[in-house]
C-alpha cells in the first residue's frame, strides 16, 4: 500500500518542490553557523542559540505545511476507491502509518544535519534541546495534519491549508504569554512548552481527539 501512496504523493513535480525546499533548508543551516562563528567569540554563543531557535522555528513551519500537503494528497480519488477492496480502517491505518513515517523521515535528517553542521563548522555542541524540540515539532505536524484531514476530505480540500497558515501566524506573531494561554486550548504554537513534562501527553490527547473526529467523518461523509 505504501508504494502506491508514495507514487501518488511524490509525483515527479512534487519531488522537485520537495528537493528545492530541502536544499534551501540545508543552505540556511550551513550559512547560519558560519555567520555565527565569524562574530566576536564572546557573542558567538548567544548568536548561535538565537539562530538555532530560528532554524528550528522555520523547520517546524515547513514540516507542518509538508505534512498537510501529504494529507491532502492522500485523499486522491484512487485511494478512496481502494476503500471498497481493503476496507476503510485498513486504508485509514495505512495512511496514518505513511504520514507518521514521512514526518519522521523528512524531519529527522534535517534536524540531524542542522546539528551536525553546527558541530562540524563551529566546533560547538548544539546548545538547544534538539531531541525535545524535534519531538514537539513532529507531534505538532501530526496534530495539525490530523485536524486538517476532515477539511482535506471536504468538497474544498484546499481549506485544509488554513490550519498550517493559522499555525504559522500564531507561532510567529504571538507573544509567549499569549501563546501559552492558547496552548491550553490547542496544544501547538509554543516553543517554551518543551520544558513542561506533561506537554507531550497533552498533545497526544489532542491527537487522539483529532483521530476520533476523523473516524466520525469517515462514517458520515461521502468520499467524493
Amino acid at each position: 500500500m505504501m508504494i502506491l501512496f508514495e507514487k501518488i504523493v511524490f509525483s515527479p513535480k512534487k519531488r522537485v518542490v520537495f528537493s528545492i525546499l530541502m536544499a534551501s533548508m540545508m543552505s540556511v543551516m550551513i550559512i547560519i553557523p558560519l555567520r555565527a562563528s565569524a562574530w566576536d567569540p564572546s557573542y558567538a554563543d548567544l548568536t548561535l542559540i538565537s539562530d538555532q531557535k530560528m532554524i528550528a522555528h522555520l523547520l517546524s513551519l515547513i514540516m507542518v505545511f509538508l505534512t498537510t500537503w501529504i494529507v491532502m494528497d492522500l485523499e486522491h480519488p484512487l485511494i478512496v476507491t481502494l476503500n471498497a477492496y481493503f476496507g476503510f480502517w485498513r486504508i485509514h491505518l495505512s495512511k496514518l502509518i505513511f504520514l507518521l513515517m514521512w514526518i519522521v523521515m523528512l524531519y529527522l535528517p534535517l534536524s540531524l544535519i542542522q546539528n551536525g553542521i553546527i558541530l562540524f563548522l563551529t566546533g560547538r555542541m548544539p546548545t538547544i534541546d534538539v531531541f525535545n524540540i524535534a519531538l514537539h515539532d513532529i507531534f505538532d505536524a501530526f496534530l495539525i495534519s490530523t485536524f486538517a484531514h476532515p477539511l482535506a476530505k471536504s468538497k474544498h480540500p484546499s481549506l485544509a491549508l488554513l490550519f498550517p497558515i493559522l499555525y504559522t501566524i500564531l507561532r510567529t506573531i504571538t507573544s509567549n504569554d499569549f501563546s501559552m494561554k492558547l496552548y491550553t486550548i490547542f496544544p501547538a504554537f509554543q516553543q517554551e512548552i518543551i520544558h513542561y513534562e506533561l506537554a507531550i501527553a497533552y498533545k497526544l490527547c489532542y491527537i487522539s481527539l483529532g483521530l476520533l473526529l476523523i473516524s466520525h467523518f469517515l462514517k458520515r461523509r461521502p468520499p467524493f
Binding site: M1, I3, L4, K7, I8, S11, P12, K13, H76, P77, L78, V80, T81, N83, A84, Y85, F86, G87, F88, K219, R220, P222, P223, F224
Partner: protein, 184 residues
Amino acid sequence: MNYIKLEEAGKRYLSHRFSLAIEKQDFLVISGENGSGKTTLLMMILGFIRPDVGTIEKRKLKMGYVPEKVVLPPFIPVMEYLLTMARIKKDTLDPHMLSALDLPLDKSIHQLSKGNQQKIALISACMGKPHLLVLDEPLSGLDEEMKEQVVELLKRRHHMGTSILVSTHEPERFLHVATKHLRL
C-alpha cells in the same frame, strides 16, 4: 447466500427507496435516467455513504470499484501502475485481459485517452479476486468495438465466479448476461 441486502434504503434527497439483494454469482444491471439515484445506490452498496432511511445488511466483501470519473496518478507508466496494483492486491496481471483490452503499456497514464484510462481502472478493479465488481458507467468513453470487449470480459469474470453490478445508460448491452435488471 446474500452478499448485500437493502431494505427500503434511501437518502433524504432521493424520492426512490431501494430494496434489493445481491447474491453470489449475480450479474445485476441498474439503469435509469440521470438523477434517478444510480450512483447514490452504488455508493451505499460500497459503504461510502450511509442511508438516511432503511437498512443495509452487508457481508465483509472485497469489492473492485470503477467510478464514473476515473482518476489515476498521471505520471506513472501504465505497466508500472498495473504491477503496483497487482502487488498491493497480492495478485498477478491477467495476460488475457491485457491483450483483449489492447493497452499501450509503455506510455505514461497522462498520455492516454479517457477510454484507455477507463480500461486501466477496469483491469485494476478485477485484480485480487474481488467478490463483487461494482462498475459505474463502464462503457462511457469507449468505442463500439471496445464496448463489446468490455462486455465480453465482464461475462468471462462472471463465469469465473465474480458477482457483478453495473450501472449504465446502455442496459441492452448487458441484458443477455444479466441475472437481474433494476430500472430506476
